[in-house]
């Protein structure tokens, strides 16, 4: 398989505190790579380093010319509420092609004529998430970095998101990096998992590496935990 990302001896320090310590892993094309870990484990910091948003030491090598889409953590309707901006305006930052915008909104199950002239903060939680996903996808990313994308949505929003991601992954060999706390998603969707607590506590296929002992070590507490048999 084609290598998309290679990370070698990655160390990130913020204010002299080591947040990520000597981390190495690789990601191949079309993988769904989940990053699991408690709060403060360095998951979001890892994403920021991968995107080149913060300084780091070590090696981060993306496949040349790759297009990366990113959905940051906790981007909420609140961020739009004091800005006189429509859904259309927000897409116009990326492209002025209205027909393309409409097409991408339809793909995520939104009705363009209903929402194009609304402020994003007026959308429902589910609509807002779909709107953000359409905004990320309109740049036709080959890799997607999603930081806890289901924080503000209900179960149906969650279902939509993962069905949509699975479909797009098949359709155009999308590679997905996903930060989540949801073990169901890790077992059901991930092809690889990285357990992060400053260092890599595990890396591999979820069913092989995620043992109850490991999860206890990772989260520092016993978890209610079931392995779902999908086969």
């Amino acid at each position: 398989m084609e290598k998309i990302l290679e990370v070698k001896n990655l160390t990130v320090k913020l204010d002299n505190e080591i947040i990520i310590d000597n981390l190495s892993f690789e990601i191949e094309k079309k993988e769904v790579f989940c990053i699991l870990g408690p709060n403060g484990a360095g998951k979001t910091t890892l994403f920021k380093a991968l995107l080149g948003l913060i300084p780091f030491s070590g090696k981060i090598k993306w496949k040349e010319g790759i297009r990366i889409g990113y959905l940051p953590e906790r981007l909420s309707k609140m961020h739009f509420s004091n800005i006189p901006m429509t859904v259309k305006d927000f897409f116009f930052i990326k492209t002025k092609e209205l027909s393309k915008i409409q097409e991408y909104l339809k793909q995520v199950g939104l009705n363009p004529s209903q929402i194009l002239n609304k402020n994003p903060s007026q959308l429902s939680g589910g609509q807002f998430q779909r709107f953000l996903i359409a905004w990320v996808f309109i740049s036709e990313p080959q890799v997607l970095l999603l930081d806890e994308p289901t924080t503000n949505v209900d179960v149906s929003g969650e279902n939509f998101l993962f069905n949509f991601l699975a479909q797009e992954r098949d359709k155009r060999n999308l590679t997905i990096l996903l930060i989540t706390h949801d073990l169901d998603i890790v077992y059901g969707f991930a092809t690889k998992v990285l357990c992060l607590y400053k260092k890599a506590l595990c890396w591999g296929i979820p069913r092989d590496v995620l043992t109850p002992q490991l999860l206890e070590k990772l989260y520092g507490t016993k978890l209610k935990f079931y392995i779902h048999k999908h086969d």
Binding site: L53, G69, P72, L75, N82, P84, M85, N119
Partner: protein, 255 residues
């Protein structure tokens, strides 16, 4: 020669319109008080220009730049929070300014004096207006994305430091130009007030830009017009016009 009253009206429009657009970005970023301290940094330069009789805009601009550089250097060597440093430097500059400021000119420095506006002010403000309008039109939606999420913006190759620097340079220019119109005390209001009422009235980005621009420009010119009519100082009148417009805009506020 252009009539001096017309000069004042035009300078008011040029400075007020750009101030309005700058303010519309400022309230999104919740940096509403940036132009306040920057305006205050102008006082030593304004005082010196009054003592040695050179162009007040030049004095104000150099003084603001000097203050900003001092803050920037202290930030690097002291590791103190920016707010603390801005507080220290801005108070020191105001204190320094009052040492030089001839007391008979105190009112002029604090709330402005449009009678001092001359042809060179008109030319400078027209130039700043042209450049400012062009630059702001180019960076506007990118600055708004920065206001929503710096991380999203960075992923779109929008580098915050570059854009904030351009933005701050424009603010410094407008603060320096607005000293004659409204004085050093009220510069923050000239940027924030038109933007707040534009925010209340607008439904999309284009409206927001245009209403801030026209509102800021027309409101400032109107204040100057009324000051002629009622023989009152223009600075306070301009601010009161904006405050009134703001209250009216609350009725039409976007839900």
């Amino acid at each position: 020669m252009i009539d001096s009253f017309l000069q004042q009206i035009l300078v008011g429009f040029f400075v007020g319109s750009i101030a309005g657009v700058l303010g519309s970005l400022m309230i999104i970023k919740r940096m509403a008080l940036v132009s306040g301290p920057l305006g205050h940094l102008a006082l030593p330069g304004v005082a010196l220009s009054l003592v040695y009789n050179f162009n007040m805009f030049l004095g104000a601009l150099l003084s603001i730049l000097a203050g900003s550089i001092v803050i920037w250097i202290l930030k690097i060597i002291s590791k103190l929070h920016l707010e603390v440093l801005v507080g220290i430097i801005f108070a020191s500059f105001v204190a320094l300014g009052f040492l030089f400021l001839p007391m008979e000119h105190a009112e002029e420095a604090l709330v402005g004096n449009i009678l001092k506006i001359n042809l060179s002010d008109l030319l400078i403000s027209f130039l700043v207006w042209l450049i400012g309008l062009f630059v702001l039109w180019k960076i506007y939606s990118k600055m708004i994305l920065l206001g929503i999420s710096e991380e999203l913006a960075k992923n779109e190759e929008i580098h915050p430091k570059k854009y904030y620097l351009i933005y701050l340079i424009l603010i410094a220019l407008i603060c320096a130009l607005s000293v004659k119109i409204i004085g050093i005390l009220l510069t923050a209001a000239l940027t924030i007030l038109p933007a707040v009422f534009a925010n209340n009235l607008s439904r999309n980005i284009n409206q927001y830009f245009i209403i801030s621009f026209l509102g800021g420009g027309i409101g400032t010119s109107l204040g100057i017009l009324l000051s002629k009519f009622f023989s009152l100082p223009a600075g306070p009148l301009i601010i009161l016009i904006f405050a009134t417009l703001f209250v009216i805009s609350l009725i039409f506020k976007r839900k």
